[in-house]
């Protein structure tokens, strides 16, 4: 069953409805942020705390000849200077990445990307630490870098990873999915085959808060407390235990308020390890906060896929198959943060929302002299790349067939009766009802009128484009048997305790970076227990105070921890039923639940509320036989499948024929994320993701020159969109619940980032159709659009 709706732009008056459970309400965490009472890692101040700064390599590829730290050590405020050689003596010079590769904490042998960590200084203040970096004298023997991903596997290419035994090339991995032979067969019989080279350039998450940590090692207790910017505190704690050899119960990882993550704060960075080492060697708490440039040049990037997409169809527009070859740039170390059995993340969903006969992908990943990473930035584990590929290539097919792109999509959608639908690459889409979502978007946009307006404008020489995208995401990893990070299964715990007065505290394994967990999870519990969300405190981000779980990324908090929160609340409700049966002196089976209270069947006047029950459960009165007391429960939720949200986006652009500037005039986004817990928070997530999409489509790229110098090392060079570049977002929704999720919810945090870039690029390409343009790669800066208008569209790398 799918329901449909939309929300007209309005004020905020209807955003605080004080719901008992799901509904529109203001975020509980916001008063602390708007009043400057947030507590971020950089707000942490400890007595005697020292400050750490990292010396970074100025070149992309160089053998380390020597480091002289004498002058830095002589600086009056410097407490320690540590190099790779020092770390080698502690066996900490290298650390595992989340993809079973290794990464240097500090360079011991060779610099492998510009901005790589070479040494660090611990000093009395941040200024002295930074000043002392300039006193370290490093001699480099500069080597030829590997920058062009297309040339990384040439015989003559320098070998970057000579630290790996027997490594003689820059090959990282090969991966394939689907059926090559079956796909070849459908391509052979197809009336029409269209192929297109498509680049998704390297971009950066650029969270407002950069990465950092405060490490406090207590040498007496042997206990490490680490405040750090992490999206996955529990997973990080386990990895620190493994890497540093510290006993896990002596490590406490605290992720306080986090100023945006977008995947950038999933990996463990060398800086975190340096902070820990710094605290161990000085015996003092040590703070490390990277600056903006360090964040941009050295931390987890996203995308960087060079793709060739091919699509096969009948002349009347029936899509038969999709085939793709991908060259993936993983940088100097494979730092991809994805379930280990999925080296390309969930790119396998590149078949999109369409019912195909066959599909196949072959991917080759390589090392280059660039910063490591690979999965980050609101991408749902590479679904961003997959959706961009399929939605671009479907538009190319529509152009080839001279068919309206909406009509082509409608014709090929997976039908509602086909769900659960197993794709040709093995993904089981849980639920979906695509056509109403597409129709809703067309209604909101006034699609037919827009096409008429476009025809009139084209006749006058004006350039107007209408772009459509339709996406299906796979979010909410696990189940644990298929998905793990370095052996840690992707399931999440949850604890709920109802206090005697009926107020509650729920403890989560996931961590908010701005998603509004303190509100959403209070609402989930409130809905199940029938108490106001204001009465539910949400505790998260502290491994000593929360149950184990894998953290927040890949839009997994609501699909996984949301399920856990609902189930743990139901478990508490079941206990409450037992207590209530004692209070009302009837069998538990004779009680009726009425959102917040139990009453005897047929007699509502007998109701006892959750608050009454909580007091009884903690009180001196009798409790039913076998009931120990208190009102609390604990659970670990292992999701049976991913959830598959979908959406239809329509973008309208105007291109200035004289300057080639693109103006996004309108953007309609209709999302289906199943059950909607707090529509205001969902809309906020959508607005943010759409803005991200405008950035990637029009301006963002981490580029390198031929020497491997990063050309995006500041926010004057790496452009992020502002309110000036985006229109008033027009949003709508349909609701197709997930059949396996306890409350039918699907993840939504990354939907708009996934779905919007193809809509914008499709719109620009549509605007340029009079010039015969079929494709142009992002970022569509004025200069690059002008090239496309003149038939000289070029890949950005």
């Amino acid at each position: 069953m799918t329901t449909v709706g939309d929300r007209k732009p309005a004020g905020f008056e209807d955003n605080d409805q004080h719901p008992v459970g799901h509904g529109r309400m203001l975020r509980k965490e916001d008063p602390r942020f708007v009043r400057g009472r947030g507590n971020y890692v950089d707000d942490v101040q400890l007595p005697g705390m020292l400050h750490l700064a990292i010396l970074r390599a100025p070149v992309a590829h160089a053998r380390l000849v020597s480091i002289d730290t004498t002058a830095a050590e002589a600086h009056p405020k410097v407490k320690a200077v540590v190099t790779g050689a020092t770390l080698e003596t502690l066996n900490l010079a290298w650390m595992p990445t989340l993809s079973n590769d290794v990464q240097a904490v500090l360079v011991t042998d060779k610099v492998r990307f510009q901005g790589q960590e070479v040494a660090f200084v611990v000093a009395e203040d941040r200024y002295a630490a930074r000043d002392a970096l300039e006193l370290i004298d490093v001699e480099y023997d500069v080597l030829d870098p590997v920058i062009d991903v297309r040339r990384a596997l040439e015989d003559a290419a320098p070998v970057i990873r000579d630290d790996l035994e027997g490594k003689t090339d820059n090959h990282c991995f090969d991966w394939e999915t689907g059926d090559a032979a079956a796909t070849e067969a459908v391509f052979a019989k197809a009336d029409v085959v269209v192929s297109q080279d498509i680049v998704y350039p390297r971009v950066h998450p650029a969270p407002m808060e950069t990465c950092g940590a405060v490490a406090d090692f207590d040498p007496v207790e042997g206990r490490l407390t680490l405040w750090s910017t992490t999206q996955a505190p529990h997973a990080h704690r386990t990895l620190y235990a493994i890497v540093a050899g510290l006993p896990e119960h002596k490590i406490r990882v605290i992720s306080p308020d986090i100023g945006g993550g977008f995947g950038n704060k999933v990996p463990i960075y060398p800086g975190y390890v340096c902070a820990v080492v710094g605290s161990i060697v000085t015996g003092k708490p040590v703070k490390w906060m990277e600056d903006r440039s360090e964040n941009l040049v050295s931390t987890g990037f996203a995308r960087d896929y060079v793709m060739r997409g091919e699509i096969a169809a009948t002349r009347d527009g029936r899509i038969l198959g999709i085939r793709t070859h991908v060259l993936a740039d993983h940088g100097a170390f494979n730092g991809t943060a994805a379930p280990v059995k999925y080296p390309a993340g969930f790119f396998g969903v590149f078949t999109g929302s369409y019912d195909l006969e066959a599909a196949y992908c072959h991917m080759t990943a390589v090392y280059t002299n660039k910063a490591p990473g690979g999965v980050a930035y609101a991408c749902s584990f590479r679904i961003t790349e997959a959706v961009y590929l399929v939605e671009r290539i479907v538009d190319c097919l529509a152009a080839e067939l001279a068919m309206d792109p909406v009509e082509l999509r409608l014709k090929n959608f997976i039908k509602p009766e086909q769900f659960p639908y197993t794709t040709k690459t093995g993904w089981v889409y849980d639920s979906g009802n695509y056509e109403p979502t597409m129709r809703k978007a067309m209604d909101l946009a006034g699609y037919e009128d827009l096409r008429r307006e476009q025809a009139e404008k084209r006749a006058r020489g004006e350039l107007m484009g209408i772009g459509v995208s339709f996406f299906t995401e796979a979010v909410g990893a696990g189940p644990r048997k298929h998905m793990d990070i370095l052996g840690l299964g992707m399931a999440d715990g949850c604890e709920l305790r109802v206090h005697p007065t009926g107020k509650a505290v729920v403890r989560l394994s996931v961590q908010s970076q701005g998603q509004g967990h303190e509100t959403t999870f209070a609402q989930i519990v409130g809905e199940e227990l029938g108490i106001p969300p204001a009465d539910v405190d949400v505790v998260h981000g502290d491994t000593d105070n929360t149950p184990f779980g894998l953290g927040t990324y890949g839009s997994r908090s609501t699909p996984v921890s949301g399920g856990a929160a609902a189930l743990v609340a139901r478990k508490v409700r079941d206990k409450a039923r037992i207590v209530a049966s004692g209070m009302l002196e009837v069998s538990a089976d004779d009680l009726v639940w009425d959102k917040g209270s139990f009453h005897v069947a047929g007699d509502p006047s007998t109701a006892v509320t959750i608050q009454d029950i909580a007091m009884r459960a903690h009180g001196a009165g009798d409790l039913p036989e076998g009931y120990e007391g208190a009102l609390e429960a604990q659970i670990t939720y292992n999701p049976p499948n991913l959830t598959y949200p979908h959406g239809a986006y329509i973008c309208v652009v105007d291109v200035d024929p004289g300057t080639a500037q693109v103006k996004v005039r309108r953007f309609v986004a209709v999302d289906d994320c199943g059950t909607r817990i707090n529509p205001m928070i969902i809309e906020g997530q959508i607005h943010g993701g759409l803005t991200d999409g405008v950035g990637m489509a029009l301006m963002e790229i981490v580029a390198f020159d031929e020497d491997g110098n990063c050309l995006g090392g500041s926010l004057m060079d790496y452009l992020l969109p502002t309110a000036m570049e985006v229109p008033d977002w027009e949003t709508g929704f349909t609701v197709t619940p997930s059949p396996h999720h306890p409350i039918g919810a699907k993840g939504v945090g990354e939907s708009a980032t996934v779905g919007s870039p193809p809509a914008i690029v499709n719109a620009v390409v549509d605007a340029l159709a009079p010039f015969g343009v079929r494709h142009a790669d992002m970022p569509l800066t004025p200069s690059r659009v002008w090239d496309a208008m003149r038939g000289q569209a070029r890949p950005p790398i």
Binding site: D42, Y127, Q661
Partner: protein, 292 residues
């Protein structure tokens, strides 16, 4: 957080005090007003100065807009925001308001100054193009008195000006002539970004509608903002027309010296120099005609 190297800081109490400090400290000192270019460069450690002399207290001496019938004088400490909001300035030279709307963002405009913009001498800086277009005269003061330098001689190369180590730019003067109109056009990748290319134009009409004089100034297409005297020569005495704007655009595209970078290719920038010159001239003429 990016942190600068150590430096000493002093607040000047008068222009003479500031000049005295500059004379004593020489090239190791720098004036700071808005600081929106200087401080980021120091934090990135691209620039290291031992002394900063803060002139923000010198509003009485340096922060003013003096509009006269034949000349407008603007103190070097006048903020972008004041230039944006002055109706008198917009009436005489609408190019200022056009430009100020697209320079950086409100936070920068609240602090950044006219003098700072000119002395930074960034080849992509919009206000420098405005001053070039309007044939501004820069008043520079030192221990030995004042001298006046035309905009064409003020910039000596990227980030270099005619202002000596012990001197201060105190004022910029613009001649006001009858039947004038001006306009500014900019293409940027994103609001607040430096120009890919920007173009200012100013025209003055004769009573019969022909062009008495015209000037064009371009930013981001050469080592400094570029005045194009050949355009002035080509337009003077001519009847305004689309063909004439096209001709001026061609001259602008030919006469500039852009380089390819992340903002755009050399070819595109030449195209923009032409396109924006045409647009700015067209609007300038419309405005001159509206004023009668």
């Amino acid at each position: 957080m990016q942190v600068p190297a150590p430096f000493e800081y002093e607040r000047a109490t008068s222009v003479d005090h500031a000049i005295g400090l500059l004379e004593r400290l020489g090239g190791s000192a720098r004036l700071v007003a808005g600081g929106h270019s200087l401080l980021p460069m120091m934090k990135l450690r691209l620039a290291n100065f031992e002394y900063l002399i803060d002139i923000n207290d010198l509003r009485d001496e340096l922060g003013y807009l003096d509009v006269r019938t034949d000349e407008i004088r603007i103190g070097a400490l006048t903020r972008h925001r004041e230039l944006l909001e002055s109706d008198e300035l917009a009436a005489a030279f609408p190019i200022f308001r056009d430009a100020e709307k697209v320079i950086a963002d409100p936070v920068v405009r609240n602090w950044g100054t006219l003098g700072g913009s000119l002395c930074q001498a960034d080849p992509s800086e919009d206000l420098s193009a405005v001053c070039t277009t309007l044939d501004g005269r820069c008043v520079i003061r030192g221990q030995s008195g004042e001298r006046v330098v035309p905009m064409t001689e003020f910039h000596r190369g990227p980030y270099e000006t005619a202002v000596g180590d012990d001197e201060i730019l105190i004022e910029i003067r613009f001649p006001v002539r009858p039947r004038g109109g001006s306009a500014f056009e900019k293409v940027e990748r994103r609001a607040g970004d430096w120009a890919v290319v920007s173009a200012g134009a100013a025209v003055w009409l004769l009573d019969d509608g022909r062009i008495a004089d015209a000037r064009v100034g371009l930013a981001a297409v050469g080592p400094n903002t570029t005045a194009l005297p050949e355009i002035s020569a080509a337009l003077t005495g001519r009847e305004p027309s689309e063909e004439l704007y096209d001709e001026a655009g061609r001259l602008a595209a030919q006469g500039c010296r852009p380089e390819s970078d992340m903002r755009g290719s050399e070819e595109y920038k030449r195209h923009l120099a032409g396109e924006l010159t045409k647009r700015a001239l067209r609007r300038s003429v419309e405005r001159a005609r509206e004023r009668g």
